[in-house]
Chain length 616, copies 2
């Protein structure tokens, strides 16, 4: 028996375009511009190489997104182009923090025009154009609009920890592609830690040869990634964590340590004792030469020295170090770390770099041109900004906590404790960074932990504070999620293979229904069950599950509504979902948080096959 | 509301291991070997670089397949290894046709041992090991077995046409990875045709610069692919189609043509007039220099000159050519083509190459050391073999016809008209090639047209003729299909994104249910509806649909059973599937072939929401 397809009535999506981040200003005009195989680009002025690359990438993305085989050649004339790129910057230049990323995009039925002062602005506009393209009943088209857009914060970052689990080059590349798609502009590369020293050093080769088991980036790969990012209007911020989190430095160079070795790679996760010895001159000579080498690889202005979680134990146990603290009147170990930072600062400056560190580095004795990244709490950012330091928010954007997009979305860098700052002080807050720590994350699972939720963070950092309707965010996020797949992210495509691996013989639909109802467990829960190491298998249901799914969100909204107004129709809809979940052969136990416990949920569950019980 | 996962009863797959191709001999022992993060390899003897690469790739594949982060280092000793590779070939050597690909794999509870005479044999055994690894209730394990295996045919190929639609390097790479997984050993690269000349030529640069719009492989890319294939025990057979299908040669070099130009790239598909002029000495000088250049890029013994579909029109219309035919007593245009082949043969030999061509080149005046690939029919292969020519079967393995795996599976190179050959004549039949012509295929759709069905062809060419149980093939193919995803093939992962693109706002499950019930239309149907060109969008339902789906196969079997014995239970099962299909909001019309029409199908359909009508 063969089924032959004859007729398909197409589903047509209409309504507000699913743009994320939402642009500053959007005006709908009437009509739409169609996109077909005749689509051609033109440049109004000379295109610098970086813009040419951007345009080629744009055409490739449009082809992937639509399935239309677009030609790579330009339009015969500006007049004949479907999209004109009018970019005032006609030669390449280094990326700079705070550069003008604004653009104007006017789409008319016959022709669209993208205007920007900078190449980066033009790249941002091209991504907006891609997001406007939708499938309709007559093919692909985009609504006629005038968009004027620019970012709220100049620093919109994403950190990837490549030490806990190494992330091969293709993972970084596809992350940069997805970052460009949602206008993130800083890739923060956490390169060194107790678990690995992931950069090739020709000056101190024992750093990467002994500090890894072979998984590091060669200098050629680093240069490739920096260039790949720059092409996409993304700066690269390297982090060399010091004086703590530096165990892998000490394996090959134990003379830098605060306590006698030997040292080895730590395969578990947490805060450990190894620390550089701030009292030794050799440490600063070493850092000078290392920073000198690395400054040649990383062209951007900032250099992140970490500075977090120094437990001070080795310093406390060393009589020499304690004597140093006393002699210099440094008060305690925190004082010693500030002394260290004060010594490192001129080294960075000599190599043309500005210092950046986690909020532990904040100290009144450091000058105001350092940048502070707050990970411990939101208060430290407010304090830094108040004192006149530039700062970024990462607290609240920790992707390894596997929170919902909504939970990240509501966090605002100048909200919370920073809301009471003066307007001038708020100017010191430059943005934020989503942080993908990878203790429980593999190259296979990282995509579903970053995407699509980082798009919601990207919107928080790009769009106006007033853009904060969670329901509308989710409406757009679901579409953006699929588009990110065409940008190369694998949060959608890795899902089924991971589920199938868990239970190869199970019906896929059962597994999906089950997994769609699950929230995976973040770092704060996961450590309770098992001691994790770099060798732990990350191939379980909690690794495959993505959480924050539309099924659960809808069910949640329905239950809330039902608790307020328990209509029969609403109850039937809820029970249908529960029946579907319970009907799959998996032994599922859904747990409601106690906020719902009193209100009659047990009755709702009854007879659906789901079971209801109190959870502690 | 958050759902927290507590308990999951794992589905356990047991039964015969899903090996494909099925090995020549398999003996089950009791027990199983477990695979966890402590898994380590060892070499019994010196490992040549190609085997080292193979082992590294094996570990990476095992990591991807299981999600277990395996270390890349070797076991401390042979005794401590989980898998010992004992390969008698300790230095690299060129691949040769008919080389010993046999291996022996013994898996015991404590240790497995892979024994092979050649590196290629060891690579084949490693793939078998990967296929043995299954998820069980206690993690990943493989059954204890003794396998002794070797191929039935020495030539097990896959052709990709990169002229109709260009296939970028990553497509070729992932195809080679999937080929290795199912023990295919020849990649036939159809590089030149009227639609494109896809290789960079430094000797005649107008071939690729004027013969493409920029989509060609650089020589560095060719070298990379050849090496990539060789690493996987796969030879590369380049095809330069001549004297027909050569329109793109003539754009830059019209002096080689049989009729005055100008010539240009042909963007449509079919058989066209342009042909080299066999009467001109300059043609042979040109071929000599071109083959000389290309012989440096393609190290394997055979060189495919195409030779198919010369329509002879330009030759008929040229008085000079007709005079040449008469003077030389060549009888007709076929005679002229044989004359051409006779001139090309010594050129190939001079450059160390053996001639291969489509069945049109077969002629008694050509020596017996040429190889004939039968695409027109199975008879021509039998005739060639009978006359003492070596030959391959491609007829019946045309993947662009989008037939079911079962339809390809039943085709046997020495079956059909070749079955009556003597045993000695059968020895001339060296195997076959799956052919992926790409008139209607894009880099996005190619995976689902090749996989998993090429695995069934691979089994036909590797395993004994008696391995022919279609139901058992499908049982294993469904598992192999998922494993091919971990090898990099995208037939599964590209499916949903393509469906979503068609109808972004439609519920995915509806689209899947619908698409799962469809067979896409092959080249023979598709041309009826539309004139296709290289610019035609390949983003429709028929491009996304994969066909040959388990849903349809099960329904088909159920209906056949029901027609034989119409039980109530069987009827209910069928009606449930039809209801699910009809219940989706798509306007689906399923068409039964008339063999089922009389037997009461209308009654079966009634009330399910599906409609029944006669088809023509």
């Amino acid at each position: 028996m063969r089924f032959v397809w004859i007729v398909l009535s197409c589903f047509v999506m209409k309504g507000e375009p699913a743009l994320m981040p939402k642009p500053a200003k959007l005006e709908r005009l009437s009509g739409e511009q169609r996109v077909d195989a005749s689509f051609r680009l033109a440049f109004q002025r000379t295109a610098a190489p970086r813009l040419e690359h951007g345009a080629a990438r744009f055409l490739e993305r449009l082809t992937r997104q639509t399935g239309i085989p677009l030609k790579r050649g330009l339009a015969a004339s500006v007049g004949a182009a479907n999209l004109i790129i009018d970019c005032a910057q006609t030669t390449d230049a280094p990326l700079t923090l705070g550069e003008n990323e604004s653009y104007r995009l006017q789409v008319n039925v016959e022709q669209a025009r993208l205007t920007a002062s900078t190449i980066t602005g033009a790249l941002r506009g091209l991504q907006t154009y891609l997001q406007l393209v939708e499938a309709g009943s007559r093919g692909f088209a985009l609504p006629s609009v005038i968009i004027e857009d620019s970012p709220r914060f100049p620093w919109r970052g994403l950190l990837i920890d490549v030490t806990s689990h190494f992330m091969p080059v293709p993972v970084i590349e596809r992350t940069l592609d997805a970052m460009e798609a949602v206008k993130l502009n800083v890739f923060h590369w956490h390169l060194t830690d107790d678990q690995g020293f992931r950069v090739e050093s020709k000056v101190f080769p024992k750093l990467h040869t002994l500090g890894t088991e072979g998984d590091y980036y060669t200098q050629a790969e680093i240069r490739h990634i920096v260039e790949y990012a720059r092409d996409r209007g993304i700066g690269v911020l390297p982090e060399f964590d010091m004086p703590g989190h530096s165990g892998t430095w000490l394996i090959g160079y134990p003379e830098l340590a605060s306590a006698p070795g030997p040292y080895s790679i730590i395969h578990t996760f947490g805060v450990y004792d190894p620390a550089l010895d701030p009292t030794k001159e050799a440490v600063y000579t070493f850092i000078d030469r290392l920073v000198g080498e690395m400054a040649g690889l990383f062209p951007d202005a900032y250099f992140h020295i970490g500075g977090d979680e120094v437990n001070g134990r080795q310093w406390k146990q060393s009589p020499t170090i304690q004597a140093f603290i006393q002699q210099r009147g440094l008060k305690d170990e925190a004082g010693l770390q500030t002394h260290f930072n004060q010594r490192v600062l001129p080294i960075l400056k000599r190599h043309g770099k500005q210092m950046m560190g986690w909020d532990e580095i904040l100290h009144q004795d450091l000058p105001k041109d350092i940048m502070v990244e707050s990970w411990q709490n939101h208060e430290s950012l407010a304090v830094a900004a108040q004192r006149g330091y530039k700062g970024l928010l990462s607290f609240g954007y920790y992707l390894d906590h596997l929170k919902s997009a909504a939970e990240y979305y509501v966090v605002d860098p100048v909200g919370g404790p920073a809301a009471t700052l003066t307007a001038e002080q708020k100017q010191n807050i430059l943005g934020g960074e989503a942080c993908m720590w990878t203790e429980f994350i593999s190259p296979e699972t990282i995509d579903s932990r970053m995407w699509p939720k980082s798009a919601a963070i990207a919107e928080r950092l790009w769009s106006a504070a007033e853009v904060n309707d969670v329901a509308d965010m989710y409406r757009r996020l679901d579409v953006v999620s699929h588009r990110l797949t065409f940008a190369g992210a694998r949060h959608e495509t890795n899902y089924e293979p991971m589920l199938r691996r868990i239970a190869p013989a199970a019906p896929l639909e059962a597994l999906r229904t089950f997994a769609d109802a699950l929230d995976p467990t973040g770092i704060e829960h996961r450590e309770v069950f098992q001691r994790y190491t770099q060798e732990t298998e990350l191939n379980r249901m909690t690794d495959a599950a993505r959480g924050d799914s539309a099924v659960v969100r809808t069910l949640e909204a329905d239950v809330r509504e039902w608790l307020r107004t328990p209509t029969a129709g609403r109850e039937a809809a809820i029970r249908r979902v529960l029946e579907a979940m319970a009907g799959q052969r998996c032994e599922t136990r859904a747990v409601w948080p106690h906020e719902f416990a009193p209100a009659g949920v047990p009755a709702l569950v009854q007879g659906t096959g789901a079971t209801w019980r109190r959870w502690i």
